[in-house]
Symmetry: C2
Subunit: 634 residues, 2 copies
């Protein structure tokens, strides 16, 4: 690394929060262009979207060049993520030129490079977690592949058996079509049965003929749905654990290595032949540079943990721990006196005021407010047209506001609104927003008699959300919810992963199926009954009124893909799109199922399982224990 | 324990395999009475089933008395499983008397004690595995219960929000019914959505009105279907692991304790002040008594492992290992010469014969037969009415037979049919049965022109099963299949668990819903369209032709419960039964879903996961290693 002041300044600029926010803004802008490009939710002219995209490309290029300046040249070119970004940018540019040329000459063009956009999200320097998730998928693929082959072999064998057993019996499906006579159709039907989406229906014609045939389906479901799907989860989970462990081990090794190098820079020899040490002054300077937000008291605490024997300097082993020490969260609870206490102590310490404090801190206060919440729940459930019910809302709002004010009177406001008091924040925001929304709503109603449906919806949502608070007063629930809140950030990584996969499939789906299935707002339009496509007449797709599940813009595509992820009725959806295009369109849907449901959802489950197990078996590290001991000593 | 010869003889009789088989026979007989009792598959008069049941009760009583004689009196009365059996037997007797009396006076009676029958299966001495499974469920219940409460709270809150947001918009479902106006209906619909069974349908009316409402459903599915269901799995799995570990630890401790007591009986002091030991003679006698099937060579091998220093006697530590040593499976592969080799060596060792052996053992031989199997698969897929295809079957049969004969020529027959050569057994049985079935079929066809559909079905199944063999020649597949075969016995325990729960629900369901929904074989019967119950007219249940999914006998009940376990369309099934009885019938189905899908299926998944992880991280124990070392030394 170059350690000249200029290089360090460049490095700091690269890692500045503002440049990171800008980068994510441009990525988001680039991805959200899909909303304005054909097929669009809000249509914009091509030159406008092209211009914005060029701007995004420019921003990415600048960021990349900046990165190339920061790190050594050979490292830059060895890193696959940089190569990937460069290739993506080039391909996008080429595609834009071709597409622009085709459009200028009024030819049909496909913006195929849109599929590549999510690659930028994966390959930026900040996407470490996301890249790790993708790596863990890639590493699990070979094993999943072999299980998948065996699973498909089993499906094919069962289909052959079904063809031989049921094909010649002249059975009819509920639509009167011949039952189990075409091998490929059987394979598809039995694949759908593995996802349980056509569960009793596919069996009914055979079962109605004789209950012996039910045995065939029971054995099939047992082997393919229960055993194979569990094996998939086992394989994914096992790989996830294995590679996660490996990655963590590598990270720890890299951290140690870097800390050792930092020690080599800072070390000095105090006495002849003595061991190499870092003095407290140097150490302080480093910590102040790295974490300027840490208070002096906190820093001294950390030093006293590192320098256990009070020598004024620490050896290599203690220094290397620094990074872990800085990661331990120490909540500095300053027991500040209440501002009212300092302002007018005579009043705040008077007998009635102290009685009030005792009441608010009493267990009964919590119980009374839980009861109020329950009564409120019943009132919400009742008809809000009734004027008594409508007015009761004001009473409840006043009660909730009173609760917050009372708590603020008793507890120190800065402690009440500290970063870790999730429920206090939640409460206050919900109650204040509900108050504002209710006032606005009443004002509009009394002024013009006009009620905005949107504001009313917001009022309702806020009212119901208020009820969630009751959960916090039950110890057991709090434990579960805290675990869920703690795995929240990890779920965000997972959300990015899902968005990347959805985006690619949405772009593909929009090119393949756009405009084939239409939704008509007007309920009297005769074309509404068959989604504007005569091919869909009398299909299950049209009968179930699935017209709005289409690929006509990026928002409906995402919702449709979500429905496919939930799996139920996916065979109806896929058959609908196969009907309006070609039978091979099913491949798109089966691929999506394999990739998203079999691989990614299993990784999600593996990941929630692992997070919960870690929570259950949480052992405090040695460092944390020694830190706690020091705190107790103070 | 009493150690008189008579007591020991009683104990041995109690543990004799024949008395165990008899016990399971009577349990099976007792459980299968449900087939013959009203509502019956094959109706028998009441006195006949009652007589058989009395016989079963008598058998259980004898077994219990026998057990009471074998173990000490205070232990017998302290054991809850004995108390449970006694109470079950008493209650059954009381119920039979009441029911008999009611029937004799032509009153309506309910055989409620049938629900108790599976308790016998759980509480017999041999049901250890099953009891352990139930204990692990019971232990997991408190934790599951709290998560479940939180989950239900979330469903209730979301339902309230749905009522407020969507109830007043005048939306209609696809049947024209008002959409989301009744709170309890919404709760049920959203509970069904958690199981994904009504996935896009429940959302479509709101989504058609505005895509903003889709956000509500997406958030709901994310929280309740994905996160909560994963948390359920995590809680069940975590408890399963924890209690399994605890149980195994207790078992190991009990085994050590018992082995130490056995050592105390057998020990002797060889020299004054020396340590207490067991001599080889005593040890041999014990092993010969406990495992008479072990060969002398095997026993000597075990002794040489225990008596590592060749002292002629072993101490306590080595003796306690005996039980583990006996559990390690040692496959004695005697490299016997081929019988043909000893009969006519001149022929068997001639050049052509040795060439044949080399060919059969060559890799190409396997590949050629894999290709034959693939060609056969294609031929099976083709129409078997074609005479060429029909005759080709004889060619394939001949080829497979030739393969088995060739292998028998090359490999020693006893080694070929050893207990561990799963695939050789599989192959031979399938090919021989296929040969017999095909010959019988052809004989019947040529003699009378009459073809039995059943025999033809068997021929088809055997033909297709033959194809599975191809899996064995791919190394990776073999590893997965071996794991699956190894977890087979554990799946049997799980099967018992499922049967117990299904049996209880089937008995309940039959009492509640028998005869409410009827299936008509005759397709022209007008009542077929509404399952013989006018209340079902125009319901989804009747439209989807689910009439045969009923509780009219124990076989259809089990199949229906299996469909409910698979989950898809369970809301249609439950609504059907609610329509013909009362809305509260849904409770039965929701309870079944909670118990079977949320608890038991998750235990099954936890259990397959654990089995796979154990397979992946299999470490040989020290004992196994030292045994292997000894074998290598020999």
């Amino acid at each position: 690394f170059d350690t000249s002041p200029q290089a360090v300044r460049l490095y700091l600029l690269y890692n500045h929060w503002l440049s990171k926010v800008l980068l994510y803004f441009f990525i988001l802008l680039d991805l959200s262009l899909a909303i304005f490009e054909e097929p669009a939710v809000f249509s914009l002219p091509i030159w406008a979207t092209m211009l914005v995209e060029l701007l995004c490309l420019l921003a990415f290029t600048i960021r990349l060049v900046h990165y190339a300046k920061v790190i050594p040249r050979d490292k830059f070119w060895k890193d696959p993520k940089n190569i990937c970004i460069i290739v993506t940018l080039m391909l996008t540019l080429v595609d834009m030129i071709i597409y622009g040329a085709l459009k200028a000459t009024n030819c049909y063009g496909v913006r195929w490079s849109r599929v590549l956009r999510p690659l930028l999200l994966i390959n930026v320097t900040e996407g470490r977690q996301l890249r790790r998730a993708f790596r863990s998928i890639r590493n699990a693929l070979p094993q999943i592949f072999y299980v998948f082959l065996l699973f498909m072999f089993s499906v094919l064998i069962f289909s052959l058996m079904a063809l031989k057993l049921l094909g010649k019996r002249g059975l009819k499906t509920i639509d009167g079509a011949p039952y189990f006579t075409n091998y490929l159709e059987i394979v598809f039907d039995l694949y759908v049965l593995v996802t349980t989406a056509n569960s009793p229906d596919v069996m009914m014609p055979a079962y109605n003929a004789s209950f012996v045939f039910a045995i065939f389906f029971i054995v099939y479901i047992l082997i393919n749905t229960y055993i194979f799907m569990s094996v998939f989860l086992a394989v994914v989970y096992n790989n996830y654990k294995k590679y996660l462990k490996e990655e963590v081990r590598q990270l720890v090794r890299a951290k140690r290595h870097k800390m050792a190098r930092a020690f080599a820079v800072l070390q000095e020899q105090r006495e002849e032949g003595g061991e190499l040490v870092v003095t407290q002054a140097n150490w302080n300077q480093v910590v102040r540079l790295v974490r300027p937000d840490i208070s002096n008291a906190h820093r001294e605490l950390l030093w006293s943990v590192s320098d256990d024997k009070n020598q004024g300097s620490i050896g290599k082993v203690a220094f290397v721990q620094l990074a872990d020490l800085l990661n331990i969260e120490v909540i500095t609870l300053k027991s500040r006196p209440h501002p009212l206490h300092s302002l007018c102590p005579a009043f705040y310490l008077s007998a009635p005021s102290r009685l009030l404090c005792r009441i608010v801190q009493h267990r009964a206060f919590v119980i009374v407010y839980d009861l109020i919440i329950l009564v409120n729940a019943v009132f919400i459930g009742l008809d809000e047209e009734n004027p008594m019910i409508a007015n009761s809302e004001w009473v409840f709002l006043a009660l909730y506001l009173l609760e917050i004010l009372l708590k603020l009177y008793v507890f120190e406001p800065r402690a009440f609104f500290s970063r870790h008091s999730f429920w206090n924040w939640f409460d206050t925001i919900i109650v204040i927003s509900a108050l504002i929304a209710t006032i606005v709503n009443s004002a509009m109603k009394s002024s013009g008699g006009y009620t905005s449906r949107q504001i009313l919806d917001i009022v309702f949502i806020l009212r119901v959300l208020r009820l969630i608070r009751v959960v916090d007063s039950i110890q057991r629930f709090r434990a579960i919810i805290n675990t869920l809140i703690r795995i929240g950030p990890m779920i965000l990584t997972f959300g990015q992963l899902i968005i990347v996969v959805y985006y690619v499939f949405a772009m593909l789906g929009m090119e393949l199926f756009k405009g084939k299935v239409k939704f008509f707002e007007d309920p009297n339009d005769p074309a509404k009954a068959y989604c504007g496509n005569p091919l869909l007449k009398d299909t299950a797709f049209a009968q179930l009124n699935y017209c709005k599940n289409n690929f006509n813009n990026v928002v409906s595509s995402f919702i449709l893909l979500l429905e496919l992820t939930v799996v139920n009725q996916w065979h109806v959806l896929s058959s609908g799109f196969a009907t309006v295009t070609h039978i091979s369109a099913r491949i798109f849907f089966v691929l999506f199922h394999i990739l998203v449901v079999i691989v990614i959802i299993n990784i999600f489950v593996a990941f929630v399982l692992e997070a919960f197990f870690v929570e259950y078996s949480v052992d405090k590290s040695d460092l944390q224990t020694s830190l706690e001991r020091k705190i107790e000593e103070l």
